[in-house]
């Protein structure tokens, strides 16, 4: 017993005597090393295979596409391509690649690299989950589905070493912003070939020492669940503009652990912030708190195939009794915006004119009209969500709102993540929580989900007029006209209400003031070549 106490005291004292050490962040500031907490451990570092946001954040440092993004507003700027021409009908893009772009092993980046990369991306055997991003290109979908086998028929052409041409199915005004996505990054086929079949998964070419990329940084260390380190690339064509020497990506899954690490001076930027800490930061560290608009909507899906929710009046009644302002202000408190339509306002210049509103009297009337005055006779409604505190809190609040205003009994069902996804996919729910983050900045990303039989529809809703409008939008060349078509489509969506929009996401995180060149963007993309650390001298 005495030994135990003595040991403990000894330990404690030896720690106390060590005084104040330099924190990791302070070392980083001095040596231009950025520490970023990055959420979950990446599945892979192969751009053609990964699907997640945490992977994307890392890949952005290791690769560069034809087109890069402006750090302020993400508009397309020259990347590997230094300029491009667009044909008058908007279907042919000719990219002129710069002469000095190099891979990390010294090889020059040429047009053929892109051709090979996209051939790999669309190879049916690779089964890449994001291959559909390429479907705007002529015959890409047919090739990916195995309907044609000659890749030369797909709309990619190598005109010469530094000229690459892309032919699209239709004019696609948002095509250049599509190119920012990691599914369009080039990969170095000779390296991949060295370690396995390039058209099959399982090739271990992404290990440290084998990895070859063309970005501002190169892969230096990868310890699973511990850290990924990238170092400034000596071969990157724009390396003189790159000021960071290294970036450490830390896969911290737990929000609480991440926040503690931030306060302890171990990371410069966090991925998110626990719900319970937002007020704390607003009060104590307001200049470290960053709340930025994010391209995403939180909504509820309604299974329209099962009565009584196949009656759109009841769906509308539900939609009109949610006090979104209170949810956002009192429950979420993260600066989110209440959503009265699906597409976030201002997405590529589009703001939906049809808007829902809160109207309890109207909701009651609709419910009565549907045959359930005061909620009498309506069987309890099941509200499904996956296990997460935020979803639970919102569901509980909405449960109360529906109960108080409409007299409807709501049962909350909470399922583990995969079970919940499965239930959604198989339409084994009544109302369920969902969210959608846009892959690219265009209303199409939010609206083409609801096509009849669309893989991400998952509500059983089908409306042929809607389908026609979306197809028409894809064909319309005039940007203003195109947005008008979307207005009509979203109006239908908000009339039939297979979904109930709740709020628009914001990106909440903590960030140290010495991080510069890091601007709020709607996709939370921050091109690292513009980032640097400048501590205040005080």
């Amino acid at each position: 017993m005495a030994c135990g106490c003595g040991l403990f005291l000894f330990l404690a004292l030896s720690l106390a005597g060590c005084g104040r050490r330099e924190t990791r962040v302070e070392i980083g500031d001095r040596e231009q090393i950025l520490y970023k907490s990055n959420g979950s451990e990446p599945q892979e570092l192969d751009p053609d295979i990964v699907t997640g946001v945490s992977e994307y954040h890392i890949l952005m440092s290791l690769f560069e596409g034809l087109v890069s993004e402006d750090p302020h507003d993400l508009h397309p700027v020259p990347g590997v391509a230094e300029r491009w021409d667009v044909s008058p009908d908007g279907t042919v893009y000719t990219f002129h690649l710069r002469n000095n772009a190099k891979w990390s092993n010294g090889d020059p980046v040429v047009a053929r690299d892109f051709w090979e990369s996209y051939k790999r991306m669309l190879a049916p055997t690779l089964a890449s989950e994001y291959s559909y991003m390429h479907y705007v290109v002529k015959n890409a979908q047919a090739y990916n589905e195995g309907k044609i086998t000659d890749f030369d028929q797909v709309g990619y052409k190598v005109l010469d070493d530094h000229t690459f041409q892309v032919t699209l199915e239709n004019s696609t005004p948002y095509f250049l912003s599509l190119l920012l996505h990691h599914s369009w990054f080039p990969v170095h086929l000779p390296t991949i070939r060295k370690y396995g079949d390039p058209y099959l998964r399982g090739s271990k070419w992404t290990r440290v020492g084998r990895f070859v990329g063309n970005g501002a940084f190169v892969l230096a260390k990868w310890r699973v669940n511990d850290v990924i380190v990238v170092k400034k690339s000596p071969t990157y064509w724009d390396r003189d503009r790159v000021r960071l020497n290294e970036i450490y990506f830390l896969p911290i899954e737990s929000d609480e652990t991440e926040e503690h690490a931030f306060r302890a001076g171990q990371v410069h930027v966090t991925e998110t912030l626990p719900l319970s800490k937002i007020d704390f930061y607003k009060k104590n560290y307001p200049d470290l708190l960053h709340i930025e608009p994010y391209l995403g909507t939180y909504f509820y899906r309604i299974n329209v195939t099962k009565p009584p929710l196949n009656d759109k009046r009841i769906r509308r009644a539900l939609a009109l009794t949610i006090d979104r302002e209170s949810l956002v202000a009192d429950v979420l408190r993260g600066g989110q915006l209440p959503a009265f339509c699906l597409t976030p306002p201002g997405t590529a210049g589009y703001t939906c004119r049809t808007q829902l509103h809160e109207d309890i009297a109207e909701a009651k009337r609709l419910l009565a009209e549907a045959g359930y005055p005061g909620g009498k006779g309506l069987p309890p409604i099941e509200l499904l969500y996956n296990t997460l505190e935020a979803h639970r809190i919102i569901a509980e609040s909405i449960q109360q709102m529906w109960n108080k205003s409409l007299g409807i009994e709501v049962h909350l069902v909470n399922q583990e993540w995969k079970v919940y996804l499965d239930s959604q996919r198989t339409l084994n729910y009544q109302v369920c929580r969902a969210s959608w983050i846009g892959d690219y900045v265009d209303p199409n990303s939010f609206l083409d989900m609801w096509l009849t039989g669309g893989g991400n529809n998952e509500t059983g809703w089908s409306n042929s007029q809607y389908d026609q409008l979306i197809a028409e939008a894809a064909r319309t060349t005039d940007p203003q006209q195109r947005l008008e078509v979307f207005q009509k489509a979203e109006a239908i969506l908000l009339d039939e209400l297979p979904i109930i929009p709740i709020y628009f996401y914001t990106h909440v995180c903590a960030q140290r003031p010495e991080v510069k060149g890091w601007y709020p963007t709607i996709l939370d993309n921050h091109p690292y070549k513009y980032v640097y650390l400048e501590p205040n001298k005080n």
Partner: protein, 301 residues
Amino acid sequence: MQQTIAPELPQATPLLREEAGGSLWLDAWHRLSRNKMAVASAVILTVLTLLSVFAPWIAPYSYEEQNLALRAVPPQAGHWLGTDALGRDQLTRLLYGGRVSLMVGIVATGVALAIGVTYGAISGFYGGMVDVVMMRTVDIIYALPFTIFVILLMVFFGRDIRLLFVAIGAVEWLTMARIVRAQVQALQKQEFIEAARALGLRRRRIIFVHMLPNVIGPIIVYATLTVPAVMLLEAFLSFLGLGVQPPMSSWGLMIKDGADRMEECPWLLIAPGVTLATTLFCLNFLGDGLRDALDVRTSKD
């Protein structure tokens, strides 16, 4: 011959009367009732249990009632223990939570005891092939993935809280069985058991009447360790999102919520934490008292 014997000898019969009659259990009861700590603990536990049982009648609010205007306020008039992030009264949730936690604790431990003791006693007593098969089965069940097991239970049987007992009991009986088996094996070689065998007593009688009372000591100690383990396992399941779901509350869930907001709202952690600790302390003293009372040898004579 001179009369050297004192004229008045104390009667032998009163002494005999005191010793005779009472069975082992009656003796134990007497000893227990003289143990002040154990009695105090039993009283506290009873009070807590009654409070929880009568929660629907004594709780000031309903456990799901939210008051967004009074979010996360510290203890004050009207909310003696404060409120949580959605403005729900903590005192109410503590009372209702007690129903869940105490039930989980008692039932799951009871299940673990019943299965574990019987299993371990049989395995240790019979030895040989029976023992081998039984213990290897324990090994197998022990190694199976618990998280998947819980997920499957919830998928196939819905979100019934009773499943929680099943899941937890299914895990805890294994170690109990091992411990009982080891104790039984040790007892096997003692003389009084060999005597019982020589007398030709039926095996079931030997196990339950002669062996178990002597194994009760470690069993009780381990049972008092199992109850907190069970309650904490329930809290761990809440940590993963698989256990008790709001708006229902349990002490484990409240502690988990409190731990997340330790800095901003310490009252959310203190109330359920102290309650859980008190319960477990009382169980501990009661358990010690029971063990002392039942074990003839540890009491000082």
